[in-house]
């Protein structure tokens, strides 16, 4: 679809880069905001038009539509226009499925959804989890959106392999989704070290008392970096359990760490200190 001349004229009003390729000279706040407000009046067709104007990263051709799309997304938040925000997010989600749009531009749409998307964007981002080129940006957007993201990740996870699966497990771990306990417990036994570490983090965040044994065992078997991370997760789990009123479970973890970490005196001391504090 051709981009309207009116939109092109508005985009052209945005600042050019200065001699260093930066936005540091002749940056007129009022003029930029007036231009963005005028673009906002163009509604969905202008959002679609801006996406179609995106070009190769770093090029002068990409600069203004790239900046405009971000400004416009933010503008809907500044003026707190929820229907406009949802419409803008809807266009970005629709464009994520456009086979003609370049991957780097789809990454940018994910990044913009990380900024402005809400629950309604999760399904479209979830479809990007299957794509090795988009999974990173999509997973980060889902983590930022939070609301509805865990459902999407959990539903999609069984279909994912390799890199895509790793990113989804991390996102579930960060979101501390209570319904993901079994996925995270499985992750703790995964062949991939990074997935095992994600499983440990997720279980620590979730603070389910019946996961302590598995996490302690995994930490004890691990070596090197993985041992550092999973031991750290044991402390996080104990702290989260204590905060949730499960003091006895927390003490059991500290006691175990105190008894088993002779060669890691800093962990033994930390466990000892925590035990003293919990008495």
């Amino acid at each position: 679809m051709a981009v309207s001349e009116e939109l092109q004229a508005l985009v052209a009003q945005l600042p050019d880069a200065d001699g260093r390729g930066m936005y540091t000279e002749n940056i007129d706040k009022d003029a930029i905001e007036a231009t963005i407000a005028a673009m906002f009046e163009g509604g969905v067709p202008f959002v679609r038009g801006l996406v179609e104007m995106l070009d190769e990263p770093g090029t002068a051709e990409n600069l203004k539509p790239h900046y405009a799309l971000h400004c416009l997304a933010n503008h809907t938040l500044v003026i707190q226009d929820e229907p406009a925000r949802a419409n803008l997010a809807g266009v970005l989600c629709e464009k994520l499925a456009d086979p003609e749009l370049a991957v780097h531009n789809k990454e940018y749409l994910c990044q913009t959804l990380q900024w402005v998307g809400r629950r309604e964007s999760c399904a479209a981002l979830g479809r990007c989890l299957h794509d090795e080129d988009l999974v990173e940006a999509a997973a980060m957007a889902l983590v930022a959106i939070r609301q509805g993201a865990a459902d999407t990740l959990r539903t999609t996870l069984p279909e994912l392999q390799g890199k895509c699966r790793m990113h989804a497990v991390y996102a579930l771990a960060v979101l501390a989704d209570p319904q993901a306990v079994s996925h995270l417990r499985d992750a703790l036994q995964d062949e991939d070290r990074e997935v095992r570490i994600a499983g440990g983090l997720g279980l620590a965040q979730l603070a389910a008392p019946d996961t302590a044994e598995a996490l302690l065992a995994a930490a004890e078997q691990a070596t090197g970096w993985e041992r550092i991370q999973l031991s750290h997760d044991c402390f996080l789990l104990a702290e989260n359990l204590a905060a949730a009123g499960e003091s006895a479970a927390a003490v059991t973890i500290y006691q175990h760490l105190w008894e088993t970490r002779d060669d890691e005196p800093h962990l033994r001391e930390a466990a000892e200190k925590a035990l003293a504090a919990s008495r």
Partner: protein, 407 residues
């Protein structure tokens, strides 16, 4: 424009740090639970991030630290995983490394600091400590949990007015109508990012994937690397994030602003670019007790003129207390002198520029940057360390990381 706040140089600090080493109490390290070597002996040290400030950051730890390992993502062509590394995780696995100097771009600082302390290392971290607010809480919690020493590599507070600090620490001052304005010195234009750039091949010796780390894996261009990384939200936060810890460390100590955080933030800036840091004018930040802090870049737009600086001296602030409270203040002990890193790692006393106070200092400039990026006033809760009533702005307080990097 010269900063009003920064009046202790790194050189001055190192001189006094060395004196701190000489007078440190000699206590065997096994008594302190850290092995068998007495503290008068050498510590094993590692430097992570060897360009730019790296060597200086390592030296800031003081004498008696032997460099055992150097780690940098540019060392792909020379890494032997014995003394030269590209992957900091291998360095942290080493049991003979006691202290770590971290001088990578700041997008890595919190991840590395937390992991280093979880691995039993003490940390000297180049400023800024973090890239966003939630990271700082994780660093402060790790410092406390593992009983490690953390010091930010800026030392303005060590020259701070302890009598002024005492007033704010005393709890006697409920309201404070001070307005403190910090003008200039934040290199806004210098540390901006490129919005137009040529994508280039990644140099053979550079692990670009590791360099980007928790940030999105962007196309490589040299301006994102080697000092000018400061101009990108992915790695830092412009001149403000780079310089403000210097300027704020001392006033934050003196006015007790490292015990809490602003509650209202009013920005004045053009709409920020989504990836490249750029220009801003000023930011007015109010605290719950009435204290107002203003950062005025002096590099864009008209100078800040909403309020005049007022009531900033020790005498001005003493006048805010009743006669009775002044007498109570006199009876209270003065704040303890701040402990320097070299002394702290030997005595296990908390360092003066520890993670908890640094988190509060960093929160000031991170909040300003969030407000600039969102182009709207914000309200912040110092207890939860979250933005109130603006979910999208709050996403910049706790930003997602690219897996497998996570706090």
């Amino acid at each position: 424009m010269k900063s009003q706040a920064w009046d202790i140089s790194r050189r001055q600090f190192l001189g006094t740090a060395a004196a701190g080493v000489a007078t440190a109490t000699i206590v065997p390290r096994n008594v302190l639970g850290r092995g068998q070597t007495p503290p008068s002996e050498e510590f094993g040290g590692a430097l992570i991030g060897c360009g730019g400030r790296g060597r200086g950051t390592f030296r800031s730890m003081g004498d008696g630290i032997r460099m055992l390992a150097q780690c940098d993502v540019r060392f792909l062509d020379r890494a032997d995983n014995k003394t030269i590394y590209t992957d900091y995780r291998r360095v942290l696995e080493r049991k003979d490394v006691d202290v770590v100097a971290i001088a990578t771009p700041p997008g890595w600082h919190a991840l590395m600091s937390v992991a280093a302390m979880a691995a039993g290392k003490d940390v000297m971290c180049e400023k800024p400590m973090t890239r966003f607010i939630s990271e700082g809480r994780a660093v402060a919690e790790a410092e406390k949990r593992y009983g490690r020493i953390f010091q930010i590599c800026t030392f303005g507070r060590f020259g701070g007015n302890r009598r002024l600090r005492k007033i704010f620490e005393s709890g006697l001052l409920d309201r404070c109508d001070t307005v403190r304005i910090l003008r200039g010195g934040v290199k806004v234009k210098q540390w901006s990012g490129r919005v137009v750039f040529d994508v280039r091949p990644v140099p053979d010796n550079l692990d670009w994937e590791m360099y980007c780390g928790p940030a999105p894996l962007r196309p490589y261009h040299p301006h994102r690397f080697g000092g000018s990384h400061r101009g990108y939200w992915d790695y830092e936060g412009g001149g403000l994030a780079d310089m403000a810890n210097h300027h704020l460390d001392r006033p934050a100590y003196e006015y007790g602003r490292d015990m809490t955080a602003p509650v209202e933030v009013i920005p004045h800036a053009p709409i920020a670019h989504p990836e490249a840091c750029g220009m801003w004018g000023w930011c007015e930040m109010k605290y719950a007790d009435g204290f107002t802090l203003v950062l005025d870049s002096g590099e864009w737009g008209p100078a800040y003129d909403r309020l005049e600086q007022r009531n900033t001296s020790e005498g001005d602030i003493l006048k805010m207390l009743s006669e009775e409270d002044r007498e109570k203040l006199d009876e209270m002990p003065d704040p303890e002198p701040l402990v320097r890193f070299a002394e702290a790692i030997r005595t296990r006393k908390q360092a003066g520029g520890n993670a908890e106070v640094t988190q509060r200092v960093a929160t000031i400039y991170h909040l300003a940057n969030v407000a600039f990026r969102c182009n709207r006033p914000l309200r912040f809760d110092p207890d939860t360390e979250r933005i109130v009533g603006d979910d999208e702005a709050d996403r910049l307080v706790n930003q997602p990381m690219r897996a497998p990097w996570v706090l």
